[in-house]
């Protein structure tokens, strides 16, 4: 399984997988492979998202302090 690219590349790949399902292009033989790849991408994106949120949560109070200063 290849690595997941940056957010935009990963999202494009994921969208393409979903589109192939929507269009009924996925055979049963391919189904598991595509599902596994889509799951890996989603988990990678969510992991990045959680990490980003955590870092934002650290920074947000510092920005909020700027807003509160009168």
């Amino acid at each position: 399984m290849s690595t997941v690219g940056d957010w935009n590349d990963a999202a494009k790949e994921l969208d393409a997988i979903v589109a192939s399902f929507d269009e009924g292009e996925v055979s049963v033989d391919e189904l598991f492979v595509k599902l596994e790849r889509a799951t890996a991408i989603i988990e990678a994106l969510e992991t990045r998202l959680d990490a980003t949120k955590a870092r934002v949560d650290e920074l947000a109070p510092r920005l909020s302090k700027v807003l509160e200063s009168e």
Binding site: A11, D15, F21, L31
Partner: protein
């Protein structure tokens, strides 16, 4: 030449002479015959009492023969008069045209004839003050000095504040309190100055020049409320010109609401009180802070939250989509297989049925050809010794032994003769 000797009728001693003189003067100019006298103040000196040299208005000081009236106002009378003058913003000073009401007195020890002031025409003085103020404003306007300081750009964040004030005064405390409690890092560079009295204009002028060279962002001149006399220094021409000449924006916060000094007119920005001036300067910084710090910070927070929300929704939506897509795909395949399976069963059953029918048909057909049926009907099967079925008369010869099969058995026979059948 002989001098003419005049015999005096009556010779007076000096003291007696002054008594006579005083009596004569008092009879015409004394306390009961007081007069109004108008003149220009040439000199003024105050030490409890106030002493004024009054001359004709416009007379040259170089004129040694110009008449001078040595007027004075005793302390008991001067104190309330001074208070009244101060309240109206009037200070007795050289050059001022005044109307004094009083009477002549004689001070024999110094041989002086003086004038005791009992009243001062304040209304007249006020008119003169107003006239002089209007003339000053007109001069400053004509020279473009009212607008000069207003042309100087105020720094976006004026945190280095030059201050001309008297520390500890109400105005000073009000102004600095606003800056210190604003939460911003104002740096106040104070140059002390008197803000009332005769010495104030020169000190204010010097303070303005000092701060202008110091490199502050703005210069603030503040003074709390007071009488017009207290605030008179801010109508001083030297102060006005110093403000106009300053290369630093000068802000004023002088007096109460309603007071408007010439310094206010010349200044870059004028606030109605020291407190208000502090508020306005803090507001400038606050405005910059809001525009360049808080607003971007808020936008950053909003944009960050928006991106994260979108990403969260996207990931969740894709997760759901994949689950449903796979489930749908599997169900479709299951349906297809089930359908195929069902079709195969039907087809198989049909095939079996038709095969059975075909077999039955064949069986029926075959049964029609069953030799037993024919044997039962009376047909028989003849075979030779080799067991071969005799199908033609040519297959046997007379005398051959043959075996004849009938429906219930067989028997042996011999060919006696052969007879052909006509075609």
């Amino acid at each position: 030449m002989d001098d003419e000797v005049i015999e005096p009728d009556e010779v007076l001693e000096v003291g007696a002479f002054y008594q006579l003189l005083t009596a004569q003067l008092e009879s015409a100019f004394g306390r009961r015959h007081a007069h109004w006298v108008r003149g220009e103040i040439a000199k003024v000196y105050e030490k409890g009492h106030v002493y004024v040299d009054l001359v004709d208005a416009g007379s040259a000081s170089s004129d040694a023969k110009r008449p001078v009236l040595n007027a004075h106002c005793w302390a008991t009378q001067w104190a309330p008069l001074k208070k009244k003058l101060a309240a109206d913003g009037v200070t007795l000073s050289p050059g001022l045209i005044v109307n004094f009401y009083g009477y002549v007195d004689v001070y024999a020890p110094q041989g002086k004839i003086g004038f005791t002031i009992t009243q001062i025409d304040v209304q007249g003085l006020l008119g003169d003050v107003a006239r002089r103020r209007a003339e000053l404003v007109a001069r400053l306007t004509a020279e473009g000095l009212l607008e000069a300081n207003k042309q100087i750009a105020v720094p976006a964040v004026p945190l280095r504040v030059g201050l001309v004030a008297s520390p500890g005064t109400e105005g000073y405390n009000d102004f600095t309190g606003q800056l210190l409690h604003s939460g911003y890092g104002f740096q106040i560079i104070l140059v002390k100055s008197a803000v009332q009295g005769d010495a104030a204009p020169a000190q204010i002028l010097a303070a303005l020049e000092t701060l202008d060279q110091h490199g502050v962002d703005i210069i603030c001149v503040v003074r709390g409320g007071g009488s017009k006399g207290d605030l008179a220094c801010f109508d001083d021409e030297r102060v006005a010109r110093a403000i106009a000449a300053s290369s630093t924006p000068v802000f004023t916060g002088i007096g109460h609401t309603g007071d408007e000094s010439i310094a206010d007119l010349v200044a870059h920005t004028r606030a109605i009180t020291p407190t208000k001036l502090g508020e306005e300067i803090a507001a400038i910084v606050e405005s910059w802070h809001a525009r360049h710090v808080r607003l971007p910070a808020q936008r950053l927070l909003d944009a960050t939250a928006e991106v994260l929300d979108e990403a969260t929704v996207y990931a969740a939506e894709r997760r759901r989509t994949m689950i449903f897509a796979v489930r749908d795909r599997l169900r479709a395949e299951q349906r297809h297989l089930a359908s195929t399976r069902s079709g195969l069963l039907v087809h198989s059953r049909h095939l079996l049925t038709s095969s059975a029918q075909m077999l039955a048909s064949h069986r029926a057909l075959l049964s029609a050809y069953d030799p037993k049926r024919r044997l039962a009907q009376g047909w028989s099967v003849v075979t030779n010794r080799k067991g071969e079925v005799v199908k033609s008369i040519d297959d046997v010869a007379a005398g051959d032994a043959v075996s004849v099969l009938v429906s219930d058995g067989s028997f042996e026979s011999t060919v006696n003769a052969k007879t052909g059948v006509a075609p």
